[in-house]
Symmetry: C2
Subunit: 436 residues, 2 copies
């Protein structure tokens, strides 16, 4: 390998958690390969941490608690942000970009709210802001959407992009256990955090949906634009009912183009647990794996599958971005900019065409089915299948609808629960991955 | 959408077949979106065809039979080559690159033999040579390997990258029909060409393996370096035997890092039909779909799935490259260059660690199994499972081995066929996608 003609590229890593320590390891272990690929050596200038110590697996002289000073160093060209949180990383990233440094971040929560501000700072200095690691860990998703599909028209993205909830739903499906026990087990195994709210209530998946919708539809979408339901109300009975319908339950981050009745194009970004038919490629994505399904006008259906979390997989995505940002320093040029020209309106959840699965506890007598069917008909919702389960006090009706607007369906469910025959609407889930 | 500040980018399309006509359609139908994404209008300057006519779906004044003159036009900045073949496209692409134009090509056969020469011409003029469409159609594979995994160490790539053979093998598995009938059916349905040799004998898959190995391992690999077996000797009995082993048969393009006994790292690129366990993600890739499975040190296992052929899907990949090349014209910068620094040696097939499935017609009497087992032992090959099928004249032994070198396995098979008890070795296939 010949020596690079270009001066070294200085790298600062902010944060030394699971991902940061893997990034530092790769930078140190694979320096010769990285130099050959970049065309210049990548040199680690320092790592910002909360506490400096000899036990951090990094030479102590590289550690600093002064992240701001590290970012400001004249010999730092590229900044990797893997701290997490919002305020501190936002400040540090803006400070890096403003002083002409390129930034690689895995921070989906920050990006989901502040991509606009960060992208403008990158634009002003003509530097890179890369964030492949922010969605689905090691799986290339951002680059395929922004580059490979740059000449196509993406119509839908549906992803399993949260490992914790997928682990829980897969385990519930496999064991028949209920939600609370499975969540506790996930915590014991390290798949759920002490406070699992961000994962189980869908906030993490919603942040990723905002990022995916932004790049897929060339429109600024923030987390506040994303309709969100988590998995904490999913029961063992839901998974059993799903199986009876040849489905499983997955927490999906869905981004979609919607054509309104006036022909005006809008988009939707939403997160909820949904029934997915077993033959759909997303149904077999189990455990902590992630997958992103993409439909585009010309490409047709694509799926990207792999490890969506964990130190080394996420560090792989960070390192890919870091090599690209470093190559741009060496060769000139920049990675893709923010693309928001389409500026499409985000449709409210009520306008979204969807299918429902409704499970009701009913009085077991003649006339129930016709009363229930009449209620659907009155709201203009067409029924695909209806099945009675159990008898006597345990009698249930399970209805699967054809496509209608979410508003019509939710009004139907509200009306059903007022029917005399309907003792309780025990479960309502949307059905995805089917036509009609 | 505001008007672009940049002058128009002129595009020449060489070839107006399935892919070329889709590229032209997209350029014309989506010009506003493309302009917004590029930052300048993409203007189609002309299309090179063999015969100019009013019935080609393109304004006649855009058609020309003089491809060389079209490429040479001063107002052409980007050239899309979708002619196919070797000599003519090689000459046209070199001529485009040499005169400072960026090139997008889908031509795997050309790239598998001439990437070096083409990359050097691109390098000399500091222009782009993009070829995402050359492997697996619409599925982003080149970009993930060269960019997303640029900071990782790819250890294996295993792809189903030929739609014709995958259609035939899927159909044989489903219907139980034999090879010849299924090939004929594939021809009738448009999945096999009149002369199917390039597909069924693995030449197409081998060209793609050369491209994948080159970029995955930063080493120039040409089609001549790829070991190749096609599917024309696969029988209905093989697929039945595969099913009995919970496997199916797939034509795989495999690129792998091999560590020799001396610790020296080498690589392998090979194409053959192999048994794949049904639970492996590649096993469920059926019909004309393609998928590429990647293992990398930090990313772990990834899979990319989608439509590997067809006019619109391939055009989607071409258009992604075209938008990227055009953005580079507008913003400065270049896409990734050829990376061949690792310059690893390609190991011969005999040195590759693999597993075999061997099906023998044997004399149905005592002692056969021990004689067969002794032969394996003598060559240092360990047996994983052995099963007797049928009886009397139809008696078969089906052996699945543990991992050994391909040379040891092929010597074992040669020795077996000389045993008195062994009437015929009816089938030998490798087994992939399992450990040990």
């Amino acid at each position: 390998m010949s020596e690079s003609a270009h001066r070294a590229i200085g790298v600062a890593v902010l944060g030394l958690g699971n991902v940061g320590s893997e990034v530092v390891r790769i930078l140190r272990e694979h320096s010769a390969d990285l130099e050959a690929r970049v065309g210049a050596p990548l040199e680690l200038r320092g790592v910002a941490v909360r506490t400096v110590g000899a036990d951090r697996g990094v030479p102590e002289e590289l550690l600093t608690t002064d992240a701001e000073a590290l970012v400001a160093r004249a010999d730092v060209d590229l900044v990797v942000e893997v701290i997490g949180g919002i305020d501190l990383p936002r400040k540090l990233i803006l400070s890096a970009l403003t002083s002409g440094k390129s930034v690689v971040t895995a921070n989906k929560a920050l990006l989901a709210d502040h991509t606009g501000e960060l992208a403008e700072a990158a634009e002003a200095q003509n530097v890179d802001l890369y964030f492949e690691a922010s969605v689905a860990g090691a799986i290339p998703v951002i680059r395929p959407l922004t580059q490979s599909l740059a000449g196509d028209r993406v119509t839908k993205v549906a992803g399993i992009v949260n490992g914790t909830t997928n682990f829980i739903l897969s385990a519930m499906d496999e064991t028949g256990a209920d939600y609370a026990d499975t969540l506790a087990e996930a915590g014991r195994l390290g798949y759920a955090e002490a406070d699992p709210t961000a994962d189980v209530e869908g906030f993490d998946a919603a942040a990723k949906a905002a990022i995916l919708a932004s790049i897929a539809f060339h429109t600024r979408v923030t987390a506040a634009d994303v309709y969100r339901e988590g998995i904490s109300r999913i029961t063992a009975a839901d998974l059993e009912a799903a199986r009876a319908l040849d489905c499983t339950v997955k927490l999906l981050s869905i981004c979609e183009r919607i054509s309104g009745p006036d022909g005006r194009e809008r988009i939707s970004a939403r997160v909820y647990p949904a029934l997915v038919p077993l033959q759909h490629p997303l149904a077999s994505v189990n455990g902590a794996f992630n997958a992103v399904f993409v439909e585009a006008e010309n490409a047709g259906r694509l799926m990207f599958y792999g490890q969506g979390a964990g130190g080394a997989p996420t560090a792989s995505a960070v390192m890919g971005d870091l090599v690209m940002a470093a190559r741009n320093r060496v060769n000139g040029g920049r990675g893709p900019r923010e693309s928001k020209y389409a500026n499409l309106e985000v449709a409210p959840i009520g306008d979204i065409p969807t299918r429902y699965y409704v499970n009701m506890q009913v009085t077991d007598k003649a006339g129930v089915l016709s009363a229930v069917a009449a209620e659907f008909a009155q709201h203009g919702v067409s029924i695909s299948t209806v099945r009675q389960e159990g008898a006597g006090e345990g009698a249930h009706l399970v209805v699967v609808t054809h496509t209608a607007t979410d508003a019509a369906l939710s009004e139907t469910v509200a009306a059903l629960s007022k029917l005399e025959f309907v003792l309780a609407v025990t479960s309502v889930l949307r059905l995805e991955g089917t036509e009609q």
